[in-house]
């Protein structure tokens, strides 16, 4: 994507899309990555978070350097997410537990809970480890439980971005059945502050729009849905 100068006004359509996405964001599910170092993996993980309504990403880089997540103001899925970096796994777990979440370490261990037996509609944090080493012992031990993706083949592991997608889309499937995407779950304050941050980072200029057709600060964040499904279809480019 070519970086464009910020001289186009944001459109009502794009603002509506942001509001629609915000209305599906889930405050009670988060992921944490421990020393996941490949930027392609991190980028794919962030994309899965965005797609499944997960807004909060916690990062721990103990043994590895953090990858470069943003390649300019407008690029990267991370602008749609809230990422928090922690010095170590204890600090990370403290942060996610403060919000009442159960911490699930993802492992390959046959002792772990089967993903499809876990209720992911409950407040939870899903923790993923480094590409080759997996999660540290410490991260597994300090978690509330371990979960694994059942695998029925000869190969014994999945790429981290694939594993994360399988788990997050299963959470989304369960949460759709539970009706979690039918009404906003962020409170209005978080919706407003998130929208403000998104507008700030967007390639379209909200200040131009503010002076013209409508004021994004006053933009209604919930409006009647015409679609029977909680998917956000259609054009994002407007």
């Amino acid at each position: 994507m070519v970086e464009q100068p910020q001289h186009k006004a944001i459109t009502r359509r794009r603002l509506q899309r942001m509001a629609a996405v915000l209305a599906r964001r889930q405050p009670d599910i988060a992921i944490a990555l421990e020393d996941v170092h490949d930027p392609h993996n991190v980028s794919a993980v962030l994309r899965s978070c965005d797609a499944t309504g997960v807004a909060d990403v916690h990062l721990v880089y103990d043994a590895e350097e953090p990858p470069e997540l943003s390649r300019g103001v407008s690029a990267g899925t991370n602008r749609w997410l809230r990422t928090t970096q922690h010095a170590n796994i204890e600090e990370c777990y403290r942060a996610v537990r403060d919000q009442g979440r159960t911490v699930f370490a993802t492992t390959l261990s046959s002792d772990a809970l089967d993903l499809y037996d876990v209720d992911l509609t409950e407040p939870c944090a899903l923790v993923f480890g480094n590409e080759s080493r997996g999660l540290s012992e410490q991260a597994v031990e300090a978690a509330d439980a371990s979960i694994r993706i059942p695998m029925l083949g000869m190969a014994e592991s999945l790429n981290i971005s694939v594993a994360c997608a399988v788990i997050l889309f299963e959470a989304m499937r369960q949460r759709r059945l539970a009706g979690y995407f039918e009404a906003p779950r962020f409170d209005e304050q978080r919706m407003r502050s998130t929208l403000a941050r998104w507008l700030e980072r967007d390639e379209r200029d909200p200040t131009l729009a503010r002076k013209a057709e409508f004021d994004p600060q006053e933009f209604p964040l919930v409006w009647p849905r015409t679609q029977p499904r909680p998917d956000v279809a259609g054009d994002d480019s407007g």
Copy 2:
């Protein structure tokens, strides 16, 4: 992985593992890739197939060169799969329809069926397109239906390997609920011929084992299961 000379005999344990995996292979689900060119993507896709019991992979390279799938006798997940290359999409669809499968094109279109509304326990083939162009118009039009993964975020597409994993693990979830992994679904002929091919490609030498403890050709392909779950846990290295 370092290529090893074939001088170690295959163990009973490894043969048991192969038989366990074979007992979970699904004869009535396949995937097709149209011009997916990145070897990392193809490799991740094959890994998801193996993990979810999908044995048949159809490849169409019309606009792109086929990627190099095997890096030596013992490397690569493709040794556990049956890959068939086709000259064009019609030939590919003819091949999968001969086996009575419904052909689902995977797209981003909002007109497509929602993945989670589709019954993937029925015989089906899932078709995935090129990384940047997606499926050709022809491939979409000649399919029986289109399906899409619901996405609730700002980003509008998923990496092909992520999309494929999300769909195949959903198929596996449905098929586990339907009991499809509780008894072998390949007929004995296909189990025997597949096992023979796997042994041929394995880094462990079955001919040494044949002379010794047991004869792989006579190895029982179904045996009592002690695990309550159809997962194959444990060590693959034996």
